[in-house]
Assembly symmetry: C2
Homo-oligomer: 417 residues x 2
């Protein structure tokens, strides 16, 4: 018995996209779905009930962070991620490799990982722009066995291997876990991408073997293999074929991740190459994507799950999604704006209560300027609800046969084109 099962409900005509249902030991996920990031076993600024109430179906925690703090065995001893954080819907953990490179590492043995604007580091919930410009002392070494890195907390040295990553993820106990991979820079050369991809594939095999060797965990947790290959078509296709080949009918990977180290403009194309090859009956998670246009592109090209820190990180910085595009709540005009954050939005922050409207833009502008924690809470609720609902609406448009119209109208209004 496999821990995950995926049923397609309807496909996009002439495209790879689909609406489906992913069944897990902690309940179903209606896909496409946006996965909320709870890096350290908490969705920043929110109680789990608030996370559930805004429509979240699944939370992703970061293996790297929980391994370092409080430690994966401490999470296990608290009953695993669900019990520790009191979240009883589905969870995922990533492999830890991504953060070991981007947070623990500046320069690998032969690959530069940190640069201003680095996609990988920018997609970490814990990194600020300032930190990105200060690579001194951040070192990670990649070898055939795994990645040696220094903790961003105390500088202590640690090593992740595929076996260790899987062991840690077994301790954390999420029902969707990822194979250990090397997430390369989008700027890396063909030669380096090819070399790294070979390593990622050997690590995929080792991750799968380590997972299956723990029969108890393999019953309860599904393992997703990660497709890499950068922006190169032959490498992406090779990676998809290789991972698909590790999925015989009786076992193998329970789904796939698609690693995000390609330039934005290549993304949809690269995702399409991959999803044309991956088995249709398993879910596909596009890692680290949360921009509205990219969510449409990802769904259209066959992806079912998306995660990104952007909605919550933007929220804590005062950048708010609205149907008419983003606003920066620090703009002085909002101090006197008595309207709701986003007219027509049904989230807790925007919805009417106590005989009045929702929280006003003026109140939110005040809370942000006053550096009140509740500012981050209200904005995070709204931004997460906005993105979760967007992906749910994309799903519904597939079921209704209105995807193209919905995409056109939403993007025109959001980007004011």
């Amino acid at each position: 018995m496999q821990p995950l099962s995926f049923q397609i409900q309807k496909k996009l005509p002439g495209a790879l996209g689909r609406a489906g249902v992913l069944s897990t030991p902690h309940g179903e996920i209606q896909t496409p779905a946006f996965v909320v990031v709870g890096t350290k076993g908490t969705v920043k600024a929110l109680a789990p009930e608030q996370v559930a109430s805004l429509g979240a179906q699944v939370v992703l925690a970061n293996t790297y962070h929980l391994y370092l703090q409080p430690g994966d065995t401490r999470v296990r001893d608290q009953g695993g991620l669900h019990r520790m954080m009191h979240w009883d819907k589905p969870t995922m953990t990533d492999s830890g490799g991504f953060q070991a490179f981007s947070l623990g590492a500046a320069f690998g043995s032969n690959v530069s990982k940190i640069a201003k604007g680095n996609d990988a580091a920018q997609n970490s919930e814990e990194v600020t722009g300032d930190e990105l410009e200060e690579p001194a002392g951040k070192l990670a070494k990649i070898d055939e066995d795994g990645v040696t890195f220094r903790s961003h907390i105390d500088g202590s040295e640690h090593k992740f291997t595929p076996e260790r990553s899987i062991e840690i993820q077994h301790n954390l106990g999420a029902e969707m876990i990822f194979a250990f991979d090397e997430c390369t820079s989008a700027q890396a050369s063909y030669e380096y991408q090819k070399e790294a991809l070979g390593r990622t594939h050997r690590w995929a095999e080792r991750s799968l073997a380590a997972h299956k060797a723990n029969g108890d965990a393999a019953q309860k947790q599904g393992l997703l293999g990660i497709v890499q290959g950068g922006r190169f078509k032959d490498l992406r296709e090779e990676s998809a074929r290789f991972l698909a080949g590790l999925c015989p009918p009786a076992g193998g990977f329970d789904g796939f991740g698609i690693g995000g180290s390609f330039d934005k403009e290549d993304m949809y194309t690269a995702v399409g190459w991959v999803n044309a090859i991956l088995p249709e009956d398993k879910p596909r998670h596009l890692l680290g994507i949360g921009e509205p246009a990219d969510l449409f592109g990802g769904v259209e090209n066959g992806c079912d799950l998306f995660d990104c820190v952007a909605p919550t990180r933007m929220a804590r910085n005062g950048t708010i999604h609205t149907a008419n595009g983003r606003i920066n709540i620090f703009n002085a005009k909002f101090l006197d704006d008595l309207g709701p954050i986003d007219d027509g939005c049904a989230c807790y922050t925007c919805s009417p209560r106590h005989g009045g409207a929702g929280y006003t833009r003026a109140y939110l502008a005040h809370l942000f300027r006053a550096k009140e924690m509740f500012a981050g809470t209200l904005a995070s609720i709204h931004n997460l609800h906005f993105i979760i609902k967007l992906v749910a609406d994309i799903r519904q448009s597939i079921l209704d046969g209105t995807f193209t119209d919905f995409k056109t109208s939403f993007l025109a209004r959001y980007y004011r084109k």
Copy 2:
């Protein structure tokens, strides 16, 4: 028609304490009651629904802070404090004088207000120990007309007078507001206390006149006069008599505040002097008190309402109330403590859910070390619930005739005497 009415339900035999019900335009308050502080129009780290769910009956916001940020007219334009923050139970605002002295001020024309350990400044939600040791540039001037001070935010100069304080509090719209007073240092000389007390009494008359002059506000908002006089019996009694004298049956103050500038050891005595004189049929608010022993002492000596930033400020620093005394959650042993924060506590943080226990001490210890905002939320919920329930239990013990037994057993366990 008076906006507030107070009914005594039962008195403590042989003492000044009483259990009662205070009726306001936004509902009843069962007294004695602990008032939650929401300095800037938000209880730090909590949604209003969370505040209500932990048993809070009333929230106090700070006039000084809201006047500076976002501005009292902006609060008014958002429909007042209740509508702005979506809190539909009773609210209070203080007069602003306390913070104008302690945050805006270092040295008055003839009185030193800021010193390390200054009670007034320590009771402000917004001041850290570091700030207290850096009085440079903080200046307030007291004259007969009022207090001129500099904003702690941008250094701009402002003046509060009794009339201005009342006007601001009318704009904020809480149904319990306070007369403008001078909160002296506990260390001030008899001569200075006497001089300041004269000013406080003249300001009380001016506050009352300004309040009654706005008939609409006086219908909806009750004004509490503030008793001062430091640690000196004759001054305290003079103050109580003077303010009581401003309360003819047909009007005057709707209740009283008792200013906290006395040494801890003198407090209960001084409170007793005052409450033996104040009219029995009006509520009495002991300002800035939240330590368990002091709450028993305050109730026993005739106080009905208490407010303090301590429960939430302690919470954000990781100091947690338990029935067996305080714990510092940063203690390393708590990283592996799978027990609840406070065994037997029924707050959201401690109570069982999802088939398991509440949040564990281990999880809270992790969240604090990881600097997660949810740490402050969970600890604030618990500490506020603890203190609110303590005062509610004190009330019940008066009704049940078990006050002395309850006081003895609670304090013995809490202080481990």
